[in-house]
């Protein structure tokens, strides 16, 4: 009966993962559409009068791109682990770049984001911001998905092959369900990094526009809380998978 309980707890973990993700996305969405951007509104470089307008203009548009980047990361990780042999030079080069990018502190990306969004909001095109967002999300998600795939026991793969499963079937039926918690953990980490940077942008914008620099906008508090929740949840999933 223990096994049943264990699997129920696994199910609960999965439900919590999905609910947490939903809450984070809802908060993000709610926050980004809190004060809708007025059509034709013009904001100056330094005199940014409305933080929500900034979020609306840039980050709101980034959500689908970030989701796409997350999914694309999973596909890249699957390709690296399942199709590209680890001894090939292509694997080693891609792997090395991903590791370097994943280890760059979020603050570095944060500084770029603040520079482009807060100080050069009118001049800059969307592309550098998208690049920052993608660089922020993809390496972390790829690394965590790689770890998740590597954590699936080779014997499980062999058992599936020995029964006549194709590679795609084996991945869908055996690898992804086993790796799911760690993949979600990676996505949570990426979301947490983005939320933290958005909070940074909001706070700095507020400092520039407000006479009282000691006030922290409510929206920034919500973002930071969400980032903390996401990172705690990511750690729990990581720990659970390791143990």
């Amino acid at each position: 009966m223990n096994a049943k309980i264990m699997n129920r707890s696994e199910l609960i973990y999965h439900i919590i993962a999905i609910v947490t993700l939903a809450i984070i996305i809802f908060l993000f969405w709610n926050f980004s559409t809190d004060k809708p951007h007025v059509e034709g509104e013009i904001t100056s470089d330094l005199a940014v009068d409305d933080t929500s307008s900034l979020i609306d203009r840039y980050l709101y548009r980034m959500i689908p791109i970030l989701c796409g980047a997350g999914l694309f990361s999973i596909v890249i990780a699957l390709y690296l682990e399942e199709w590209l042999t680890q001894t090939t030079w292509q694997y080693r080069i891609i792997e090395r770049y991903i590791v370097i990018l994943a280890k760059v502190p979020s603050l570095v990306y944060g500084i770029f984001a603040v520079y482009f969004i807060v100080f050069h909001s009118q001049k800059v095109l969307n592309y550098p911001l998208l690049l920052i967002a993608i660089l922020l999300v993809m390496p972390v998600t790829i690394r965590s998905t790689q770890k998740a795939i590597q954590s699936v026991d080779i014997s499980v793969r062999e058992a599936a092959y020995a029964l006549g499963a194709t590679k795609l079937r084996m991945i869908a039926d055996n690898v992804l369900p086993n790796a799911f918690p760690l993949i979600v953990a990676g996505i949570c980490t990426a979301i947490s990094r983005i939320l933290a940077i958005v909070a940074l942008i909001v706070i700095i914008s507020n400092w520039i526009n407000s006479s009282n620099i000691f006030t922290i906008p409510k929206s920034a508090v919500v973002l930071i809380s969400s980032a903390v929740i996401a990172s705690i949840f990511s750690s729990i999933l990581d720990y659970k998978q390791v143990t």
């Binding site: 009966m1 223990n2 096994a3 049943k4 264990m6 699997n7 042999t85 001894t87 026991d153 014997s155 499980v156 793969r157 062999e158 058992a159 599936a160 092959y161 020995a162 029964l163 006549g164 499963a165 194709t166 079937r169 039926d173 055996n174 369900p177 086993n178």
Partner: protein, 256 residues
């Protein structure tokens, strides 16, 4: 259609296998006949597992695997370029040294292989699951827990479940790679009894490093030592009247 009993189902001729620079199997030649238990014995690292992994092409997963020689299954070259590897794996099932149930319910574990064969109708799947679980005498123990996860089962029951899962693929040959390695003394006889029951319908290849077990379950036995097939023949003769000194030393316990 059942395979004629007097024609070999597997024909191995001058098989050599390398893992990188390691020459693990040397000049092996023998036949496996249907509806018999053919066992391979020998000390650990003598090449037993490397040999059976050639039959369902699991060695293909190793990037440094290399072979020469011929392996024919029902007269078809197993390593021909036009051979469908997944089809071969379905026809030559395998049970590993430790039970590897998937993270699915007991029912779905068995139905997994049937689904790989393209069977989707639930009534048909129900029948296959019941038949396979009955074949390994597990049905009565799990019939009320079919939708529970296999972790509720003992290690021995999990191994029986893995056998049932392999049977659901309707294989012609079933390979057992040291299946009792992780079982305790009470569960081993049950598995051996299952092997004896299955041999009337399937060709079984049994790998073990337990001499007595090979003597109990098999009809034909082969003794492998350092990658060479030292002796191959009737189990009774191999154990009671070995022709080779090494075989004699091994079966009497002086070697390995």
């Amino acid at each position: 259609m059942q395979h004629p009993i007097n024609a070999p189902i597997l024909y191995i001729d001058d098989l050599n296998v390398w893992y990188g620079k390691n020459h693990v199997l040397k000049n092996l030649t023998f036949d496996v006949f249907p509806r018999q238990v053919t066992s391979f014995i020998g000390p650990s690292k003598c090449g037993k597992t490397a040999l059976v992994r050639c039959f369902n092409r699991l060695n293909d997963l190793k990037s440094d695997f290399r072979y020469t020689g011929k392996i024919q299954f029902n007269g078809v070259d197993l390593y021909a370029s036009n051979v469908n590897v997944t089809e071969i794996a379905r026809k030559i099932g395998m049970v590993f040294h430790k039970p590897i149930p998937f993270r699915k319910s007991i029912y779905d574990n068995v139905a997994y292989t049937a689904r790989l064969r393209g069977i989707k109708q639930s009534l048909q799947l129900d029948t296959i699951v019941e038949d396979c679980l009955r074949a390994v005498q597990l049905w009565d123990e799990v019939r009320n827990d079919l939708h529970a996860y296999p972790e509720i089962l003992t290690i021995g029951q999990q191994q029986q479940l893995c056998i049932a899962r392999a049977l659901a693929g309707n294989p012609e040959i079933l390979i057992f790679d040291e299946p009792c390695e992780q079982l305790d003394a009470t569960e081993t006889p049950k598995l051996e009894a299952t092997v004896q029951r299955l041999k009337s319908q399937y060709s079984l290849i049994f790998v073990t490093n337990k001499r007595r077990q090979a003597a109990r379950v098999s009809d034909i036995a082969g003794f492998l030592y350092n990658g060479e097939l030292i002796e191959f023949g009737q189990t009774e003769h191999l154990f009671t009247n070995p022709k080779n000194k090494l075989t004699e030393d091994y079966v009497t316990g002086r070697l390995g």
